[in-house]
């Protein structure tokens, strides 16, 4: 810059080396900047921020106030099972629990593949929860004294509205060894009506009735006062207005007009609020009046006298501060007269009118305004009190003479009725207390002292209301409300052959306000206990799934793990340890309270930290190697299979599988082994040797099937029930064939052709209602085989290149088997079909193996290969051995049983079918949602593709379907499915409502999904199709690999929106009589104990809906941000 005079004016080089690098201004970074930018950016922003925070504060404070002080959370806590699964058979509950744990495992696995960072955060949350549930209940019980429990005693009926309650003479309660039960007469609580009205918490019905009566009285006093105010205020207001006008007129002459006007307005206001001092004064008055009234004898005459006295008094009233003695006396008399119940309202009104007239009648004294107004005020208050007193009932304390008479109490043994402790509790504060020697039932006897009449309220410690949970018709479980630690099964103690009364929870106890300690004691331990029971196993299983997922990824893909000395053992140990924690946890839970108290808490916390530590450290222990990417791919694929199978598992676990017996599972195991063997044969033998083994395997398998089928004839009374089992077998077979080779590029042409053949056979078999393989061969079955052969040959000739060698063998074998099976005498149609599917699965596995031969050669000497492939010879040998054993054992097992006659009865089902009419609660919601999504998504996809099809018939069928369904409300569809379908076809009446509702929801949702997907398809560029065609992809391949992935990615938000609305729409099924979680909510608020507890119930239901909806929407956002979506986000 120094040589600036030579500088070229058109171009300059600025020496920016001299400019130092400075940090940005403090207010431009960090929190201040964020606050300024986001909350206080502009005046409008500031206003909105402040208003919003005020609103939020108000709402939050209001909510917590309600939640802590008013809400009755037992509505939720006691009905948890109902909310979750309604009346689902309790013997099958474990199946649902297993489903939930499976989902937890898959969730953990998903975290391992997709959300490791998120999991770390969630671990902390889970950890906090763990510590909380383990520590807090004990902490609360240790630090906050259990509230007193109030029990009535005595022999006078307590009247509450229409019901009369006599205090229980005996009361059964549960107590724990070491606890102290103490009883005394409540005195502070009955000192006045206000305290009595606050009597809430755990008390018996009679005590509640007393509290209610006190509350009712207070309410009525308030109401009567308001009535008086309404009556009198008009008169007074007029009088005062008049005076104000006068005053203004008077003060116009002065300069101080405005000030005096304000003074008057102030006086005006005073009339409507009585100060504490004047109330106290009135109370004192009342007491004296009471005393005077008691002495009156002739009410009629007294009324007359009093009325005239009042007239006189009013006439004599001066502008002084106090009423004259005559007026006072007259009023006393009047009150007494009125108390006899005559002409109350008339007289009251007259009194007021008199007074008002008097006020209005003295307008001249405007300049003495202050003196005038004071007596009016005072008198009004007095009269108000009189009025209230005349119209409200007597004090509850006075009626029942509470706190006046001593009571006789005793604690007895529940069985022998022997008195363990007892005595008199009375005015002097005598206390009866007893240390409980052992857990169990006790009986409290309480009554008035013999020969006397009286009522008293006992303040008890150590006696709590009891919840009775009916487990079955014969068995009940009894739990104290304040803690869940002590559970007693069996029945109540008996007194005189009847169940002893217990103090059961009633909703009225929560009508009053609660303070925070009470809330903590009553609800928190119970709530946390439920969390512990429900969520903790879930959390730990998630952690286990995660660790397992990481371990699997490493086992599959990491060379370093195998190369190091003991790392595989480490991996396995790491993978298994959370399982051990889980098992230990359940063991502790079942440990009969052995781990209650400090050791239990310490152990639980240690388990929690161990799990968390494991999750945190697992990445470090299992170091990621270079080949990690491949392992990620494998674990992701496993995961997709897992989640794909999950809905079926969930449904099958809930509904059960008919005909699934031990023998069936054994047979399936044999089939699976066979499939694996076929795969390895395909993998390891070229040409002829492999085919010979294949043929041998086929024949052995057929032989086994033959033997089993002879036996099966005896016990497949219901062949349909075994359908699922066989279909699973076929799916597993195909999946196995594909396992590990999916990355090799999908199904090759030959496998496709086999699949084609198999589906020809199967579909023709299924759709042709002929006895496919009947006794001694059937012409129609032969026809089917012929058709299958023709179709197959047609396909072979019309298609292009073909590896004839292995296909010939396999096809030949299949057809041969088929024909041969016709000579059997003991097979039914269904089992033939499944047998063929099974054999075809084996053939497919063989083909896959053969196809992968190239890789095998490479792997044989490769230490880095996945475990199964590294030693194919050994693996195959082991498989063959296992298969032969199963092959030999199963038939002999079955035959052996038959010989013993055990098979004459149908075999024991492992997963018997559940009654779908009992499905309900969250479980039904989830079933409908997941199955609804699972079914409607593929249907929607096909509808969308169909709507774009060039085949006019297909296209318009889809259009008509979509438009029709979209034009009808879901509720109509549900009504049709549930109510009208059985009318149309009576045979469908046997289908459960849940299934029909599911079909309705699926139909409905599919139409909307179709439109969403179509939108995605339409958004795609034509060039994509052309490019796909140009590189030789077929139409279906183009759709599958190019169009659908893009289209679906584009409409993820819309799809998930549809899923979420399906989830929420399941609540509509309660209209057709199914009790999913909303339906349950309606049932809960109809329970007598929790009548109209709508806030708590529906808040809970709303939270459940929200949690699952949010999870769905979160997952959708995550999915959007993967793959090319992540690349796009990065770019932006």
């Amino acid at each position: 810059m120094a040589d600036s005079k030579d500088m070229d004016l058109n171009q300059s080089i600025i020496n920016y080396d001299e400019e130092p690098v400075r940090p940005p201004p403090t207010l431009e970074v960090g929190l201040p900047a964020w606050l300024r930018q986001n909350l206080f950016g502009s005046p409008a922003d500031i206003v909105v921020s402040i208003l919003m925070s005020i609103l939020v504060l108000v709402l939050v404070v209001g909510f917590f106030d309600w939640a802590v002080r008013t809400a009755n959370w037992f509505t939720i806590i006691n009905n948890q099972r109902l909310f979750m699964m309604e009346r689902f058979e309790s013997s099958m509950e474990w199946r649902l629990a297993l489903t939930v744990l499976l989902s937890a495992l898959l969730t953990g696995f998903s975290f391992a593949a997709w959300g490791r960072k998120l999991l770390r955060m969630l671990t902390m949350v889970a950890l906090a929860t763990l510590v909380l549930v383990a520590v807090l209940p004990s902490l609360i019980n240790a630090t906050i004294a259990q509230p007193k429990s109030y029990l009535t005693s005595g022999n006078i009926d307590i009247i509450d509205r229409a019901s009369a309650l006599r205090p229980q003479k005996n009361l059964a309660f549960i107590a724990q060894a070491g606890e102290t039960v103490s009883l005394e007469l409540a005195r502070d609580e009955v000192a006045d009506v206000e305290t009595l009205s606050n009597l809430s918490g755990f008390s018996d019905r009679a005590a509640n009735a007393l509290g209610n009566a006190a509350r009712n009285r207070l309410d009525q006093i308030e109401l009567t006062g308001l009535t008086f105010d309404r009556m009198v205020s008009r008169e007074l207001t007029e009088a005062l207005e008049e005076r104000t006008r006068l005053a203004i007129r008077t003060f116009t002459r002065t300069n101080d007009m405005e000030a005096s006007t304000f003074d008057y307005m102030g006086y005006l206001g005073d009339y409507f609020t009585a100060s504490d001092a004047s109330i106290a004064e009135l109370k004192a008055w009342l007491k004296r009046l009471d005393a005077a009234v008691a002495g009156l004898e002739e009410p009629e005459a007294a009324i007359q006298a009093a009325a005239s006295a009042v007239d006189d008094a009013v006439a004599n009233m001066t502008a002084a501060d106090q009423m004259t003695a005559e007026a006072r006396a007259a009023l006393q008399e009047l009150t007494a007269a009125l108390q006899s119940g005559q002409q109350i309202e008339d007289l009251g009104e007259r009194l007021i009118l008199d007074l008002s007239e008097d006020l209005i009648g003295q307008p001249d004294q405007a300049d003495e305004d202050e003196d005038l107004i004071r007596p009016v005020k005072w008198e009004t208050l007095f009269l108000r009190d009189m009025f209230v007193r005349l119209l409200t009932p007597q004090s509850v304390i006075a009626i029942y003479d509470l706190g006046q008479s001593p009571m006789q109490v005793a604690i007895r043994d529940a069985e022998t009725f022997e008195v363990l402790a007892g005595g008199l509790v009375g005015l002097a504060g005598e206390t009866v207390s007893y240390v409980i020697p052992r857990d169990g039932w006790y009986i409290l006897s309480k009554d008035a002292v013999e020969g006397q009449e009286g009522t008293g309220i006992l303040a008890a410690r150590g006696i709590f209301p009891i919840v009775e949970r009916t487990l079955s018709a014969s068995e009940s479980q009894f739990v104290r409300l304040t803690d869940n630690e002590l559970e007693i099964f069996g029945s109540r103690p008996q007194i005189d052959g009847k169940d002893a009364p217990i103090a059961a929870l009633i909703d009225n106890q929560y009508r009053g306000l609660r303070d925070l300690p009470t809330y903590l004691v009553h609800f928190i331990p119970l709530f946390l206990k439920q969390i512990e029971l429900l969520l903790l196993p879930f959390f730990i299983t998630v952690a286990w799934g995660y660790v397992l997922g990481r371990a699997v990824a490493h086992l599959l893909g990491e060379q370093t793990v195998f190369n190091s000395n003991n790392s595989r053992a480490t991996v396995l140990a790491v993978a298994m340890s959370p399982l051990l924690i889980l098992l230990a946890y359940f063991a502790f839970l079942d440990g009969n309270g052995a781990l209650d108290g400090l050791p239990g808490i310490v152990l639980k916390i240690l388990a929690a930290f161990a799990t968390a530590l494991l999750v945190q450290r697992v990445e470090g222990w299992l170091k990621r190697a270079n080949s990690g990417e491949e392992a990620e791919g494998t674990i992701t694929r496993l995961l997709i299979y897992g989640w794909g199978v999950y809905p079926f598992a969930m449904y099958l676990m809930a509904s059960g599988i008919g005909g699934l017996s031990g023998a069936a599972i054994g047979s399936m195991a044999g089939g699976l082994l066979w499939l694996l063997l076929m795969y390895f044969i395909g993998l390891n033998f070229f040409g002829g040797a492999g085919y010979m083994l294949l043929i041998g395997g086929f024949f052995l398998q057929i032989a086994q099937g033959y033997v089993i089928n002879i036996v099966w004839e005896n016990w497949t009374a219901e062949p349909i029930s075994s359908v699922l089992f066989w279909i699973i077998l076929a799916i597993v077979g195909v999946g196995l064939g594909l396992l590990g080779f999916a990355r090799r590029g999908g199904i090759d042409a030959n496998a496709k052709r086999i699949g084609y053949l198999v589906s020809c056979v199967v579909f023709i078999s299924i759709f042709t209602n002929t006895n496919l393989v009947s006794v001694g061969g059937d012409g129609s079955a032969a026809t089917m085989v012929a058709i299958a052969m023709v179709l197959w040959l047609g396909w072979m000739f019309f298609s292009g290149t073909l590896h004839w060698s292995s296909n010939r063998v396999i096809i030949g074998l299949l057809l041969l088997t088929f024909l041969w099976m016709q000579t059997w005498t003991h097979v039914d149609r269904w089992s033939t079909v499944y047998f063929i599917i099974w054999l075809a699965g084996g053939a497919l596995a063989f083909k896959r193996g053969e196809w992968a031969q190239g890789d095998k050669l490479k792997w044989k000497r490769d230490e880095s290969a996945p475990l199964l492939y590294r030693y194919p010879g050994r693996t195959m040998g082991a498989l063959a051995l296992a298969w032969f054993i199963v092959l030999l054992i199963i038939p002999s097992f079955v035959l052996g049983l038959e010989a013993q006659g055990a098979l004459q009865a149908s075999p024991q089902d492992l997963l018997p079918l559940s009654d779908k009419r009992l499905w309900g609660g969250l479980m039904l919601t989830m079933q409908l949602t997941i199955l609804g999504i699972g079914a409607s998504f593929p249907i929607g996809l096909l509808l969308a593709l169909g709507r774009r099809s060039k085949l006019t018939v297909v296209k318009y069928t889809c259009v008509v379907y979509i438009e029709t369904v979209r034009g009808v409300p879901l509720i109509t569809i549900l009504f049709m499915a549930v109510l009208m379908v059985p009318l149309i076809d009576p045979t469908l009446a046997s289908v459960e409502n849940a299934v029909r509702a599911w079909v309705g929801i699926t139909m409905f949702s599919a139409a909307y999904l179709a439109e969403n997907v179509r939108g995605g398809l339409q958004s795609l560029d034509r060039g994509q199709t052309e490019a796909a065609q140009a590189i030789g992809l077929s139409g279906w391949q183009t759709t599958l690999y190019i169009l659908l992935p893009q289209a679906l990615r584009a409409v993820i938000p819309a799809l998930v929106g549809q899923f979420i609305s399906l989830f929420k729409d399941t609540s509509l099924v309660f209209i057709v009589g199914l009790a999913e979680i909303t339906g349950i909510a309606y049932r809960v608020v109809a329970q007598p104990e929790f009548l109209q507890r709508r806030q708590e119930t529906f808040l809970y239901v709303a939270i459940i809906y929200f949690v699952f909806s949010y999870i769905m929407s979160y997952i959708s956002r995550r999915v959007e941000a993967t793959g090319s979506g992540a690349a796009r986000a990065q770019q932006l």
Binding site: R744, G800, D1021, A1030, G1032
Partner: protein
């Protein structure tokens, strides 16, 4: 220039034969009596004004457009409604589009290896190995695991060429491969195409790059109004001393 004719391959059979091919879009007659033979290893450049039907013509060769009259025979297989024939021909021809048409949801690697795996049933290892070789050939191996959206236009077009080559086609069709590119990027794509021409690939190129045509083409075809107006070797075609069809002359006057 004369690179193809004295090689030892089956040069006597034409790779592509068109006989009296006609095509209509509705009532509009797009291609009129196109007759043409393309020999193996020949590089054929098709030029002409917009709307002359040149793109439609090469799109007919792999059946992205359907011709309604006449014959097209590719590598001995006649294009007809037979689905199998269409599939076979598409397996033999690669195509590069003006707008690249890469699959945005797949990585570069997957874009290239998809078709070999799905259509030729190669194992993934083999397909990816081949894809990597091709990426090296077009000069961007380091971009293999990116998504198309993260690449520049020139890189995308090179990936598109690699994708077309992955099927090991006998014929490559280029439909204005450089028209959508920034000037800076045109060269990198043309270089790849020149390199391809040197490996004796049969190529049909629709382009406006006259330099490229002059340097690489064995034969240039000028199309107008759906007809082949004129054809010849580039040294003749761009020679002002030789007499051209008036329409060709008009076109050449405008671009040269």
């Amino acid at each position: 220039m004369e690179n193809g004719n004295n090689q030892m391959m089956s040069v006597d059979e034409p790779m592509i034969i068109c006989r009296d091919m006609n095509k209509w879009f509705g009532e509009f007659h797009v291609l009129r009596n196109i007759s043409l033979e393309v020999m193996p290893q020949e590089v054929l450049v098709i030029i002409g004004p917009s709307g002359s039907g040149k793109s439609t013509f090469i799109r007919c060769i792999n059946r992205l457009e359907e011709h309604q009259d006449g014959q097209i025979i590719v590598d001995g297989i006649e294009l007809s409604h037979d689905v199998q024939n269409i599939a076979d021909i598409r397996r033999e021809t690669g195509m590069v589009f003006q707008q690249f048409n890469l699959f945005p949801h797949l990585t570069v690697m997957d874009n290239i290896s998809l078709a070999p795996m799905k259509v030729r049933h190669w194992a993934r290892d083999k397909a990816e190995q081949r894809a990597m070789e091709l990426l090296e050939r077009v000069g961007i191996p380091e971009q293999a695991y990116k998504y198309p959206g993260q690449l520049s236009g020139g890189q995308q077009q090179r990936v598109a060429i690699a994708r077309a080559l992955a099927m090991e086609p006998k014929i490559m069709l280029f439909d204005e491969p450089t028209s959508a590119l920034d000037p800076e990027m045109i060269k990198e794509v043309l270089d790849v195409m020149k390199e391809l021409a040197r490996t004796y690939m049969t190529m049909l190129v629709v382009t406006h790059e006259m330099g490229f045509a002059r340097e690489v083409a064995d034969r240039i075809i000028f199309m107008d109004m759906g007809r082949i107006v004129e054809q010849g070797p580039p040294e003749n075609f761009f020679n002002p001393d030789i007499e051209h069809h008036p329409r060709t002359q008009e076109f050449l006057d405008q671009i040269l």
